[in-house]
């Protein structure tokens, strides 16, 4: 199978962080939560490969442990959102009529609110915390999935291959499974890849504002905030978590853009043989 170089590089980068998300807290050289005031703001050494922060915690260990929170949760929430949004899109697009109108009004209403604002509002109501933020993101994000699937269903359902499928005895469920899911797969893959990146950015931003992960939990956005007062004296505190966010989001965008360019069976693909 041929995978374009761009997607391949993004996948490798993303895969690296995904592995780190599962093994990070296990591989970490030090306890990411251990506070040692005698060791604060240390430069890189053998014990602390990236130095220590203002409370004497190992930066590398905190970044590795933070991968789990940032990447794992973002990926999980997008998968959950897709699981909610895709069936709603199929229901809305395939049934049409009143169900469609009703569901799309709900989507319009929820979609009118920027997810950042909803997240801040939810944090205000339910208190700050990762799960509340994830809930807020899920409330807004499902709409894009439902819309994409609905759009695909509406353009495809009147095409003759769907009619031919009905004539040859397929039930609505079979048509969704055999035809429409396949048609929706590429726009969905592009959206999922891009959304994981966007969610990581959002999650980090909210944690930076103190609405997401709560101290002392290691999370990249929260680490940026921790390092802010020491930025001039010890830029490493912000540099490394910032770099990680940059790389992961870059990886997601590369995959997403690469998929957009190539997920068309008609286009000729250039890339490396896998």
């Amino acid at each position: 199978m041929k995978i374009p170089l761009f997607i391949f590089m993004g996948m490798v980068l993303y895969g690296f962080f995904l592995i780190l998300a599962f093994t990070g807290s296990w591989l970490a050289p030090n306890d990411p939560l251990l506070i040692q005031m005698s060791e604060r703001l240390q430069p890189p050494s053998f014990t602390y490969p990236l130095g220590t922060d203002h409370l004497g915690r190992c930066i590398l260990s905190r970044i590795m442990a933070g991968t789990h929170t940032t990447l794992g949760l973002s990926t999980a929430v997008i998968v959950a959102v897709a699981v909610i949004g895709v069936p709603i899109g199929f229901l809305s697009g395939y049934k049409g009529g009143r169900i469609d109108a009703w569901l799309m009004r709900v989507a319009d209403g929820a979609g009118a609110l920027p997810e950042f604002l909803v997240a801040v509002a939810v944090a205000g109501f339910l208190g700050p915390g990762l799960w509340n933020v994830l809930l807020a993101i899920a409330c807004v994000k499902w709409i894009a999935y439902a819309r994409i699937v609905r759009g695909v269903v509406q353009t495809e359902r009147e095409k003759e291959y769907v009619l031919a499928s009905i004539v040859s005895g397929s039930s609505g469920w079979t048509i969704i499974r055999r035809h429409l899911l396949r048609q929706a797969a590429s726009p969905l893959a592009i959206l999922v890849a891009g959304d994981i990146g966007r969610t990581i950015l959002l999650l980090s931003a909210l944690s930076y504002l103190g609405l997401g992960a709560q101290p002392p939990a290691p999370e990249w956005g929260a680490m940026l905030n921790d390092g802010r007062p020491y930025f001039q004296a010890a830029p490493a505190l912000m540099l490394y978590p910032g770099l990680c966010i940059l790389l992961v989001v870059l990886a997601c965008n590369m995959v997403s853009d690469g998929l957009r360019d190539t997920l068309d069976v008609r286009s000729k693909q250039r890339g490396i043989e896998i």
Partner: protein, 259 residues
């Protein structure tokens, strides 16, 4: 010959942009077993709507369709599914008729996937894998093994239409409805597809409803023909009576236009 399909007083209207358009207006005809009936008429005469009604893709406002004395219009979902096994279709646009994300052999097998218990005559007495079944079906319509794994856009228009025909005959239907199957093809390919349809009809003893605006094609393939104008059947005759003087004026217009 016994009756395969009977259509009685079928009507369908649409409300398009506030206007009341009667697409099919009290249409009645019968198709007998093993017979090929041509339906001609210009664009917008209601042919396509009629096809959708006959395939039970839409519900008529009035009238009834009987398929082997069972109603297609007043029936429940289970019976309709059983009847659908016997009525298959080949559409005009072979590109839109195939899912562009499925290799053609999967499209060909779709009807057999849905009716797993049906063993068509060409598979009797042999045990074939799914791919072998697809290969045999494609062979029947003149495609080779090498075409099996291709995607629709990798085939020519004529080849795609052959794939659609293979799908249409895979259940050995009693009635094959061909909705302008040749009108998007070039002249040579047209006549090849017509010859293919003719030989398949004889082999499988199917009834065929052949919809076209090409009188020559209808004359080549069909026993009888119906002429449709503005939603009505204005004329019906045997193909060799087409040039007689007592034909409907509109039929005469079509005949003179075809010359």
């Amino acid at each position: 010959m016994s009756e395969c399909m009977q259509v009685r007083h079928l009507s369908k209207h649409y409300a398009r942009g506030g206007k009341h358009v009667i697409a099919v207006d009290h249409v009645s005809f019968t198709i007998r077993q093993g017979e090929c009936v041509g339906l001609v008429g210009e664009s917008g005469s209601g042919k396509s709507t009629l096809v959708r009604l006959l395939l039970a893709l839409e519900h008529p406002d009035q009238g009834e369709i009987l398929f082997q004395d069972m109603s297609l219009t007043r029936t429940n979902r289970r019976v309709l599914r059983q009847l659908r096994q016997h009525i298959q279709v080949v559409f005009q646009d072979s590109t839109a008729s195939l899912n562009d994300r499925l290799p053609v052999w999967r499209s060909v097998l779709e009807p057999l996937d849905n009716y797993a218990h049906v063993i068509p005559v060409f598979f009797r007495g042999v045990v074939l894998s799914r791919r072998e079944q697809a290969e045999r079906l494609l062979n029947i319509v003149g495609l080779a093994r090498e075409h099996m794994d291709r995607y629709p856009h990798e085939l020519s228009g004529g080849q795609r239409q052959r794939v659609c025909i293979a799908r249409g005959i895979s259940l050995c239907p009693q009635l094959l409805i061909c909705d302008e199957p040749t009108s998007s093809l070039d002249v040579t390919t047209q006549s090849q597809i017509l010859r293919l349809l003719q030989s398949l009809r004889r082999q499988l003893n199917m009834s065929v409803l052949f919809i076209s605006h090409d009188l020559a094609a209808v004359a080549q393939l069909c026993h009888r023909m119906l002429v449709m104008q503005q939603g009505r059947i204005v004329d019906a005759c045997k193909v060799d009576e087409l040039w007689l003087a007592e034909r409907h004026p509109y039929t005469k217009v079509l005949v003179s236009a075809a010359r």
